[in-house]
Amino acid sequence: MANDPIERNQSLFRGIVYLCGFLLFWEWLRPLDQITDTANMAVFVVYAAFCFFLSFIHLPWFLTIPMKLIGLAFVLDGLFIGQRFLSGEWFRYVYEHIQFNFDVMVANQWWQMTPLFRSMLFLLLLWLMSYLLYYWFVVAKRTSFFVILTIVYVTVLDTFTIYEGKGAIIRTFLISLIAMGLSSFTKEMEKESIAIRGRRVYQAWIIPLMVVVLFASVVGYAAPKKAPQWPDPVPFIQGAVNGVGGSGGNSIQKVGYGTNDEQLGGSFVQDNTPVFQAVADSEHYWRIETKDVYTGKGWIRSSEGNPSEQVVANDINLGYFSDAVKREDKVATIAMNDNATFSKLVYPYGIQKVSNSEADTLVINPTTGEIIPQKNGESFQLNGYELAYAQPSFSFSQLSESGTDDPPQIDQAYTQLPESLPEQVRDLAEEIIAESSNRYEKARAVEEYFQRNGFEYSTKNIPVPDEGEDYTAQFLFDTQVGYCDNFSTSMVVLLRSVGVPARWAKGFTGGEQIDTVEVNGELKNVYQVTSANAHSWVEVYFPDIGWVAFEPTKGFGNHTDFYIEDTGEDDEESSEVDENLQEQLEQNQEQTPEMDEQDMVGKADESNGSGGSFTVPTWLWIVLIVLVLISLGLAFKYRYHLMTMYYRKKYIQHPGQRNYEAAYEFLLKVLDKKEDLNRSSDQTLKEFAHSVDDHYRSQEMGQLTYHYERLIYQRDSSQHPWDKMSELWENLIKKTLS
């Protein structure tokens, strides 16, 4: 093929156009490592290049398919598989993975799909894309569709995610202009059967094209641009999207407990999927973990702490309270629901012991508060367990007198704030606590600050902070509307900015009481806890006492027990304080019923992380969406075949006038797509049938038309050989579609 100079030019053009296709496709891959947890992007790009190259050099399929498969295996091997490449062990390993993942898919538990399998799907997708783009760019010479898709993709990602698409959009424009210029040139040459030889191609087309593209790009890049002429539509769109789908921000959000809180914000929808049932004396929060580092966008951990493994039978001591705290021994039973997909334990404050579980070991991390059950060295999800705990109660006087003498490690770890925190926030914190004399009052002041001052509880239309915007500042000064994450994070930040050690706790609220049961002669309540009960709150450190939970979220009551010690002293000041405290207590009590209504609420960010087993990875979504797009594309390409099948089935099932009419009209539509056969509106059906039959040297259209005419122009047409007609129809459709 390379001997003929024209051919050589053509294939050179094709090569450049296809290369442009690959570069555009690369723009699709680039953002993935930022917006998803896809690592090792380079490997995927290399594999994509490999597939594109193989598609281009036009080897026979029995060579390319094995080559691509081996490439795929090689990539998987390098990324995941420790076995010797292509050994028996290796195949068994891959086979087991595939089998497992198919089971998982059948069970709709997408989040359990293993990275190996996900990567394999992704590689297959790259493979398919290489074909698709080859078809679009080289065979059909239709570049504009993919160019538009790419631009839309980049702009959407740029708008709605952290991805910065400025460079990408410029690259995309350059590449697309070149690709479209070249492909329209080759198309034009083919259409007009013009052959330009050798150098003249460059003079006639390529050099002008390059000059125009470069000139346009440079001018476009350098020219002064007007500021946006209308207000940024993004918040509105985000709001609208969030309101409807509960997804927003850069990741899919759903209600429930998740592990990744790096990017808070965004709306969500309620999800009342049960997570567990608890049998307990009273309603209280179920804690899972805490986080200590606020990044300005969300929460991360400074370290994973020092988890210690211990046998289940032993007592647990997280060391959150000093002995000075009054406690009451209680027990509770937890029955996890099948829908729960996290392995960490939920537990009340003051946990002492876990029993009646399948676990043999507990990995306890006092820093983060996580308790992970293990069996034979592997963590797993418990079906149920019993908890023994000493529910703490805090004395107002102790709290008020606890002072500020924090241990250095506490002070260091839990007063952290990002440097980017606006000064505004600190000023506000100072203002709020101005009249508070001790730490407890400060905490209460901040907690109460949210109950007034126009803050609103809502799960809808909650923005994600923009780049450079602080999550708490946005909430405190800008929106004042939010849910637990907004309130709790803001409270922690406010407290930390006045030097009070505080941390961010996650778990579930008490849930809805659904039943009462008798356990060992005692009446206990059964609480149903759903994903909607996922919640976050605040823990404040008090020296000599420990961590005390506070609840800033509007509409939620503080479930921490506080009590007033009967000191016997009767001086005026103290009783005044007592009165205040009493008032507060009452307030708390009042809030409780209100909470029941809004109790369902709580939210957790969809995790991007691989650590949690709860979440649907974003890039799986992308894979699914692309697969759906591809199948839609294929369905569109073969729509007439599909519709033929549909009409045929319908007609065979119910032969008769109506379906015959539909089938005939469909036939007209199909014939209309044929360039040399389409019916002009002044052509009667008979004339048209005549021309069709002339074209195919057949009788079918005439016969079909004969019957159709009788259907639509005759008064009553009953007797038609319906079964024979379906055959005629099928024959003709086949001829037309072939």
């Binding site: 009419e661 009209e665 002044d682 009667t684 008979k686 005419e709 639509i712 122009y713 005759q714 008064r715």
Partner: protein, 319 residues
């Protein structure tokens, strides 16, 4: 536009074949004449003398076993010459009505544009009203009643062109046209001995003809075909080249003709094809072109064909 029509109806085919034994070629004109006959309409034949107009009418009338009358129109022809006249009979001392040629079944009105408008209207009145008034008496015309008028488009001197309003009394306006060379040779061959018209036998009685006319009127016209007809006709009123469009009488004529045309193909319903085929014959003499179009050399048939290209065919059942 010449079209071979498959005359599926047995009786009609017989009639057609009988006429064709005399007429060489001219299938289309023959077919359309039969259409007009069955649609109870009349035909205006426009062509030069000697192309067989009279022969066609005579053969037709002989084949149907009807009374054939011929009126040769001249400038001095009086209305009474057409309709008949009451003459005083000295024996009975009474006025006696002598029926004119109009009181036949099949009337050939030859060179209709040669007579005065007064005489023309007496003919046209009869065609439209199917009765004539003579001396205050109304005389019913015979049934079937079929007029075939001819006019010579070449000569203008001493002619009285038919007013447009009267032209639309004719269902169809046809052109005979010259035969092809082969047809003409065949004709010479045929004529050399005895004229074939002398051998023509009737293949149909008057009663049979009336029955066929009634059957043709029964043919079903679907609403979507009616809409198609109306669309075509109303388009003639909107067309930029038309000075005067087709009247509702034209729509009725088109539908009647289409019914008869479907009938001779032994079909009991009308197809758009029928309408489309007949439209130029039915409509072109019912409209007047404006001077601009005339100047550009456009004819009425061109206009109708132009309209037929614009109006879309109904291909779906009307809901």
């Amino acid at each position: 536009m010449s079209q071979q029509t498959y005359l599926a109806h047995g009786k009609v085919h017989e009639l057609f074949a009988n006429i064709q034994s005399v007429m060489i070629g001219k299938e289309e004109v023959t077919t359309l004449s039969i259409v007009a006959l069955l649609a109870k309409g009349h035909v205006l034949l426009e062509d030069v003398p000697g192309v067989g107009k009279t022969m066609l009418v005579r053969t037709l009338s002989k084949s149907v076993d009807c009374e054939f009358r011929r009126i040769q129109f001249t400038p001095d022809l009086l209305p009474s010459d057409v309709t008949g006249v009451s003459i005083y009979n000295p024996k009975t001392l009474e006025f006696e009505f002598r029926p004119g040629p109009l009181l036949g079944n099949i009337v050939l009105a030859d060179e209709i544009n040669r007579t005065s408008p007064k005489t023309q209207s007496s003919l046209l009145e009869g065609m439209e009203e199917s009765h004539v008034t003579v001396d205050g008496n109304t005389i019913e015309l015979k049934r079937p009643f079929f007029v075939m008028a001819t006019q010579n488009p070449i000569e203008y001197e001493g002619t009285y062109p038919l007013p447009e309003a009267q032209l639309d009394r004719f269902l169809l306006k046809l052109n005979m046209g010259y035969p092809s060379a082969a047809e003409e040779m065949q004709m010479l061959d045929l004529i050399s001995n005895d004229h074939p018209i002398n051998r023509v036998q009737a293949v149909m009685t008057k009663e049979e003809l009336i029955e066929l006319q009634n059957q043709a009127a029964e043919v079903y016209v679907d609403p979507n075909i009616q809409r198609y007809i109306v669309n075509i006709v109303s388009e003639t009123r909107r067309h930029p080249s038309a000075y005067l469009g087709v009247s509702p009488r034209g729509s009725i004529a088109l539908m009647k003709a289409a019914k008869a045309y479907a009938f001779i193909q032994d079909r009991d319903f009308v197809l758009p094809d029928d309408v489309k085929y007949l439209a130029p014959f039915v409509l072109s003499h019912r409209l007047i072109l404006n001077s601009e179009a005339k100047f550009e050399g456009m004819t009425s048939s061109d206009l109708v064909n132009d309209i037929l290209q614009k109006v879309s065919i109904p291909v779906r059942k009307e809901k």
